[in-house]
């Protein structure tokens, strides 16, 4: 029997994460209070954040490429980077979630929140590290099943339960579709190892059908059009913190995994998926943007915005080169800080003003809460791709990565340029609706704007991290260069 536990040393990120999860779990189990019990656990959130920070620091420099468990598990520089990015986003979510978790009806399940989030993170780590469809599937499910619990976390608020139901049903449905695709690939190649599948795949109808099913299954997770129906309702209904988490981390991990699989496993049928991907991207970006314009509910608005952002994320993959992975990771990182900043502010406003998420309520927000409004503006500018904020850099690099694949003057090259152009036109549309919020805050008059409130220290800290990221991650090229260096390692 070939059993060697030293293989676990190749998966330190998972091991440390598991350790953190266990510590949180046990601590919570023996200190949790029951509903209605007056017990103060102020130290709990900092503890979790410190654990998360430790996890990030242990794994910040990616390990060398290696495999474990007979090649089922694989890690390399770019995988390490995306894991760090995901962990970083989780850290921000934890810091930011504190205010929400102090609320009366959520306080007694504070621990569950951390545990579920860590569990999803563990799943995502496995998903991006997978080198075998089984591990990939398990990671994906581990990421999405606890996510449904998170979405339904505020269970006594109607929308949350409804959102959870929609999420879990679509998540299951999509994994069913995805598995169906995988079964075709299995039939065609007789193996489930990525490397072997790649070696045996060819442009037969069975493989292409499998690829399409697989793609649509994962498209659900990234909420690409036409697989986006659940997004708006789920984002709106879920607790704001969870929406933020869902929109960045889960999407980023799935996008990275899809990128890796398309570029690795489906490399022999690149022409087919490139075309398909381009169609989906154009649809996602355009439809996401067009629907976002009319939204009045900020969370719904951000949902559609995130659909179009998903399109931008995947745009990098069209280029199909090493640059794509770097650009995608970088985009995800920037998207994490910008989007979480937006959601932190939405959450802070919601918590302090009795659940206000309507855009009209933000009229005149700058007059009463100048700092929050200013930070929200920065974050929105970053999302819209305005320099000197980081969003512009990430968008530009994604476009570069896409155009990198169009170097030869062929029909597909021209198509890629056309897709990039459509995406660019869409940045203008997206800028329009981001500016609508800015307009509401700075320009529109309001008889009784939201009162001035003092957000908690944790919110402030989360916002500080996010703003620092928004401002610095672009201009300081060290971030990009770090990702690049790790990716080519």
């Amino acid at each position: 029997m070939n059993i060697d536990y030293s293989q676990f040393l190749n998966m330190i990120p998972e091991v440390t994460l598991m350790a953190a999860l266990m510590i949180v779990f046990i601590t919570d189990l023996f200190t949790a209070k029951k509903p209605g019990e007056a017990r103060n656990r102020n130290w709990f959130n900092p503890l979790v954040c410190v654990l998360m920070l430790a996890h990030i620091f242990i794994n910040i420099w990616p390990t060398e490429a290696s495999t474990a468990f007979g090649g089922m598990y694989m890690t390399n520089g770019s995988v390490g980077v995306i894991k760090t990015i995901l962990a970083f986003s989780v850290l921000i979510v934890f810091v930011q979630s504190r205010e929400w978790l102090q609320r009366e009806d959520t306080n007694f399940k504070e621990g569950e929140f951390y545990e579920l989030v860590l569990a999803t993170l563990l799943g995502m780590n496995m998903m991006v590290s997978a080198n075998h469809f089984l591990l990939f599937f398990l990671g994906l499910e581990m990421a999405s099943v606890p996510m449904a619990c998170l979405v339904a976390f505020d269970k006594y608020r109607h929308n949350s339960a409804e959102a959870g139901a929609k999420f879990i049903l679509t998540a299951t449905f999509s994994s069913g579709v995805m598995l169906y695709g995988i079964s075709f690939l299995y039939a065609a190649t007789g193996t489930l190892y990525f490397d072997d599948v790649m070696a045996n795949i060819s442009a037969t109808p069975l493989c292409i059908l499998g690829m399409v099913f697989f793609f649509s299954g994962l498209g659900f997770k990234i909420s690409l059009v036409p697989f986006h129906f659940w997004t708006a309702d789920t984002y709106q209904g879920a607790p704001t913190t969870v929406t933020g988490y869902l929109s960045v981390t889960s999407k980023g991990a799935a996008a990275f995994a899809l990128c890796a699989i398309l570029m690795k496993v489906f490399a022999p049928i690149v022409e087919y998926w490139q075309i398909m991907l381009m169609v989906v991207i154009v649809l996602s970006i355009t439809i996401g943007n067009l629907f976002a314009i009319h939204q009045k509910d900020l969370k719904r608005f951000m949902a559609f915005s995130s659909i179009s952002q998903a399109g931008y994320i995947m745009l990098a993959v069209v280029g199909n080169s090493a640059m794509s992975v770097t650009a995608l990771s970088y985009y995800v990182l920037i998207y994490v800080v910008a989007n979480l900043a937006v959601f932190s502010i939405i959450a802070a406003v919601e918590e302090n003003n009795g659940g206000v998420v309507n855009m009209n309520a933000y009229n005149g927000f700058y007059k009463t809460n100048p700092r929050l409004a200013f930070l929200l503006t920065l974050a929105l500018f970053s999302l819209g791709g305005i320099p000197p904020f980081a969003g512009m850099f990430s968008k530009f690099f994604v476009f570069m990565a896409a155009a990198n694949g169009a170097q030869v003057t062929t029909a597909i090259g021209a198509t890629i340029y056309a897709v990039v152009f459509i995406a660019l036109v869409n940045t203008v549309i997206s800028l329009y609706y981001y500016l609508l919020i800015v307009k509401a805050m700075f320009i529109s008059d309001n008889e009784n704007p939201l009162p001035t409130f003092k957000s908690s220290y944790s919110t402030k800290m989360a916002l500080a991290i996010c703003t620092l990221g928004v401002v610095a991650f672009g201009v300081c090229s060290i971030v990009y260069n770090w990702i690049h260096a790790a990716s080519v390692m």
């Binding site: 320099p387 000197p388 690099f397 340029y417 152009f421 660019l424 800028l431 500016l435 320009i443 090229s477």
Partner: protein
């Protein structure tokens, strides 16, 4: 890293200082110190540039004071700076406008601090754009300069400000979307055909590797992308609305500097890097710019709002810049740059004075104003001078520029270009018509409203702004040669590059 970087560093330091500032007087202090420093730096730059050129001829060293610091090295993106004659005068112009703009918005309320924050951010973009010679940094600073306009107009503007601000921002951002495609095309196809991936403007021009058929694909993207900001004919509609709604100093900065980014970009990126395409496609843009010139002037005639008049006049004059550029002769291009400089100064003067009048009289409607010479002589004189410069009276900057442009345009020796030139020339007459009509109406007729008698003349800060600009306008008009030499020095090698590479311009 040379002292050029200071052009970006100083405004950034100003931003930080503004952020920390506690009250209005501190904000103003920061702005005065900062803008004075920038002005001084620009003047020093001119002197240093002239000195340096004596030892380093433009043919061998197109850009001086260059630096290249790796930034996003894997993508060949460097922080590259460098100036040639064109950038130098543009930097000088920007410094003057920022300096005078600071004084013109001395009384800006409410939220003075935020106002100056965005104002300074805008100037970061402008300076950065003029000092960079790397496609990426150019583009980045270009966008930095655009977005603060939205808030500046939207929050502090007048009239249908939200609509105008949104329209302006979206159209300009649409332009930058076109630009990205162009930049990607240049970068990747240059890299593919020369084997050397680079974003440097200088290197791409030297390599000159992109085949003509690919140039022809990307040229329109870049030319229109920058052309939108330069008020190219069908894409100019943001300009009148934007100018009319913007607060005084913003109009100054926008018309005075920001629109120059367009012309500069067209010349520096579109034509310089894609010369064959420039030659073969110039006729299309010649038609468009001719329309721009005449259409802008004619539209100005029928407007009654002072700002709209000036805005359409700007369309016409900026059209003239692009018009001269696509003529692609050395004289015309020198004229184009001079026109940018001159238009920047006099439009700034115009908008400053209009803003001040509006601030007092409460209206900008030509029909309601009159006899201002009696009420506020200083401002009225300023307005008259601006008007005269605008219609190209000798002795003011406008004359020098327009003369160069039309002389250069006539150098091109074929019927099509001649015809366009003649059509464009009519704009001089039309300009005279609308300027003189307005000047006569608002300055010299009898005072239109009893309440106007209570109005005061300019305060000291406004006098600084207006006086400084008048000085510059007159200075450029009376002694154009120093500027012309600097500009010529840069235009000559570029025109040589563009024209020396293939078929003769033509249909």
């Amino acid at each position: 890293m040379t002292f050029l970087t200071l052009f970006v560093v100083i405004p950034v330091v100003m931003l930080l200082a503004l952020w920390l500032a506690r009250n209005d007087s501190q904000v103003r202090g920061v702005m005065v110190v900062g803008s004075t420093a920038l002005l001084a730096l620009a003047i020093y730059l001119v002197l240093a540039f002239v000195n340096a050129r004596e030892t380093m001829p433009a043919e061998q060293y197109p850009f001086l004071f260059g630096t290249a610091i790796p930034w996003f090295e894997p993508l060949n993106i460097y922080y590259r700076t460098g100036v040639d004659g064109i950038s130098v005068v543009m930097l000088l112009l920007s410094s003057i406008i920022v300096f005078t703009g600071t004084f013109a918005s001395w009384q800006q309320h409410p939220m003075q601090k935020e106002y100056f924050l965005w104002f300074t951010l805008l100037s970061v973009g402008v300076y950065g754009f003029f000092i960079s010679v790397d496609l990426f940094t150019m583009f980045m600073f270009y966008e930095v300069a655009l977005i603060p306009m939205y808030l500046l107009i939207g929050v502090w503007g007048t009239g249908p400000k939200e609509y105008s601000a949104m329209k302006l921002t979206l159209m300009l951002m649409g332009g930058s979307a076109l630009l990205i495609i162009g930049i990607l095309g240049i970068y990747f196809f240059n890299g593919q055909f020369s084997g050397q991936y680079t974003m440097s403007v200088v290197e791409i021009a030297q390599l000159h590797a992109i085949p003509a058929f690919i140039q022809k694909i990307f040229f329109p993207f870049i030319f229109i992308g920058f052309g939108i900001l330069g008020a190219l004919f069908p894409f100019h509609t943001w300009s009148p609305d934007g100018h009319a709604s913007a607060p005084t100093a913003v109009s100054m900065l926008h018309a005075g500097v920001l629109m120059k980014l367009g012309g500069y970009g067209c010349f520096r990126v579109a034509m310089y890097l894609l010369p064959e395409a420039a030659q073969q496609l110039s006729w299309v843009f010649l038609i468009l710019t001719t329309i721009s010139v005449v259409y802008g002037a004619l539209s100005a005639c029928v407007q009654t709002d002072l700002k709209y008049i000036n805005a359409y006049s700007s369309v016409s004059h900026c059209g003239m810049v692009l018009f001269a550029l696509v003529m692609m002769t050395q004289t015309a291009c020198t004229g184009a740059i001079l026109q940018m400089l001159s238009h920047g100064l006099m439009t700034a003067l115009f908008f400053a004075v209009i803003g001040m009048i509006y601030h007092r009289a409460g209206t900008r409607d030509v029909r309601k104003l009159g006899g201002l010479m009696k009420v506020m002589p200083f401002l009225a004189v300023g307005y008259v001078i601006a008007g005269l410069a605008n219609l190209g009276l000798p002795g003011f900057s406008g004359f020098v520029a327009e003369m160069n442009i039309f002389v250069g345009a006539f150098e091109v020796n074929d019927t099509f270009h001649r015809a366009c030139t003649i059509i464009a020339c009519t704009s001089i007459v039309i300009t005279a018509v609308y300027i003189l009509r307005v000047v006569g109406k608002i300055c010299y007729q009898k005072v239109a409203d009893e309440s106007f008698f209570k109005l005061t003349d300019a305060t000291w800060d406004e006098r600084v702004a207006v006086g400084g600009l008048i000085l510059c306008v007159a200075g450029l008009g009376l002694a154009p040669l120093w500027a012309q030499n600097i500009i010529n020095d840069a235009v000559a090698p570029m025109i040589h590059h563009i024209m020396g590479t293939g078929a003769v311009a033509g249909m």
